[in-house]
């Protein structure tokens, strides 16, 4: 089915936020907001859930801690116990102190890179991917609300356009997909 998409452009983040609040209270479903910088407080209005990347970072970090522990225990205790100054490596626990710096570094390494890679993949932002913002000005000083008519069956296009025009927009654009 052909879908009609409306793009309402604003020149101020506060105006967009107030407009979005008004639209949502009338039952409009806002599909997306494009902005040149994070608009604080927009997420709960348009129903964007908080990201769970933080949990992933913790899991990646934990993986790093485990890998470092397993690795160093194998290298230093099991495979080739070193005897330094008559102080041989008998058990991991007894020698753990000198393994802490690398355990920490490896934890940070895995958490940071794991999270960064997940972030890029989840965003689908990778080298060579084309930009999808509806207007090049949305990375400069303009803010856009995207509304899909297929998600707002109970409004006619003219009703929707009138409602949008009440929110202080500066330009209204539409596209058929």
């Amino acid at each position: 089915m052909a879908d009609k998409v409306l793009y309402a452009m604003y020149d101020d983040d506060e105006v967009l936020k107030d407009g979005a609040k008004k639209l949502v209270s009338k039952g409009v479903k806002i599909n997306e907001v494009f902005s040149p910088f994070p608009i604080h407080g927009i997420d709960p209005i348009i129903g964007v859930k908080n990201t769970r990347l933080g949990i992933m970072a913790f899991i990646y970090g934990l993986t790093g801690t485990m890998l470092a522990t397993i690795g160093m225990r194998y290298f230093m205790i099991v495979d080739w116990p070193m005897n330094i100054g008559g102080k041989p490596n008998f058990s991991y626990l007894e020698n753990m102190l000198s393994f802490i710096p690398i355990t920490f570094e490896f934890t940070v390494l895995c958490a940071a890179h794991g999270m960064a890679i997940t972030y890029l993949l989840r965003n689908k932002t990778l080298p060579g991917i084309p930009a999808q913002n509806p207007d090049p000005r949305t990375t400069d000083d303009k803010f856009v609300i995207e509304i899909r008519m297929s998600e707002n069956d109970n409004f006619s296009s003219s009703d929707m356009e009138n409602m949008l025009k009440d929110t202080g927009l500066i330009e209204l654009d539409q596209k058929d997909i």
């Binding site: 997420d43 990347l53 160093m72 710096p101 490896f106 940071a112 960064a116 932002t125 000083d141």
Partner: protein, 465 residues
Amino acid sequence: MHKEAAIREPLILGHKTYHDITEDVCKPIEDKAPRMWYILFGIALVIGLYGIGCIMYLLGTGIGVWGLNKTIGWAWDITNFVWWVGIGHAGTLISAVLLLFRQKWRMAINRSAEAMTIFAVFMAGTFPLIHMGRLWVGYWTLPLPNQFGSLWVNFNSPLLWDVFAISTYLSVSLVFWYIGLIPDFATIRDRAKKPVAKKMYSILSFGWSGRAKHWNRFELVSLVLAGLATPLVFSVHSIVSFDFATSVIPGWHTTIFPPYFVAGAVFSGFAMVQTLLLVMRKAMGLEAYIHTKHVEYMNIVIMVTGSIVGTAYITELFISWYSGVEYEAYAFINRATGPYWWAYWAMMTCNVISPQLMWFRPLRRSLLFTFIISIVVNIGMWFERYVIIVTSIHRDYIPAAWSMHYPSHIDIGVYVGTIGIFFVFFLLFARYFPVLALNEVKTILKSSGESYKNAPDHGHHEASH
């Protein structure tokens, strides 16, 4: 919305709009480079190439071409290594620690400070690698399965901790920096007119579109990376100090080394940020974003960390006497009065006295004075590492083995060369990358911008465009 006290100085001067911020940052990238840029780039490139030539000669001949000898096995190489790593620390401190403390003034300087961090750590990493003499076996520092009877690297050694610390630090800083750069590359991409530039920035921006969900993730990723980078930056220089502190050399065997090195690193790093930014803000017309208040804040950091460093010097001196260990006491008497007295007193003057001048408000708000002090501090911090390393080992337990270190022209060439390469990188950064974190600066325009801050109709202030 975030509100700020009316008496707090605005962070963005003048009557800027969101579009003006984009213009101000993107213009220098889109316009032709000024002639001065080519001149500076040319000078840096020549010096850098000379340095690379010295490194090639060193690798072809062996590290005997340095001024090292049997007594002094570490000198300029490790001095330069610690100096560069220290400089690198300011970038992470600004972008990570100040982010956690919600210091908005960081936003004007974090991008270029982080760039400085990455380039400085590159330069730092060069020294331990070439000190191996055989660069091509550098991978032996990694725990890889091998044919030498399965001989592993020694995980008890601070030198190995350093390998992990520096490589983690470099790669995590790079990722942190790049994630912040992606939305700003998108801004340049959407403004670019020339097809080649458009294509390049399109690849660099990873197809960023500025969706609400992406911004939500962006903010969390920045916060978590800052949380990870903060302990990381402290651990890195602590581990660098372990290279010395865990040895039994008088003058090195000191428990205050980790905090003392970290404070010294931040001290020298902020000085380097001042040196670079005072020139950059002028050359690129960013006076409205990086102004006296920012310089003053950074000078306060320099003053605080400089005082910590000064306290550490005096503590060291006191403990060497109080410990009752005569070797320890001699190491310090020799530092101050021995053949390297000039290095010690250069260090003391540059690092202990000069930051104390920042107590005076007119001085710490003077740009020229700040510029001079920032260079003095960088010289002083180089001497600090030289004093710690060379004067501690040049007279060891057997007087027959006492020796002096005289740098060879290769020593000097490699060091000066890294400064050249550093500036080549930094000049390229200033030419092609957004030097201000656009997306972050725009978020503080309404709370800290001069024309919005104390305007009566706060909030819906109409932009003049």
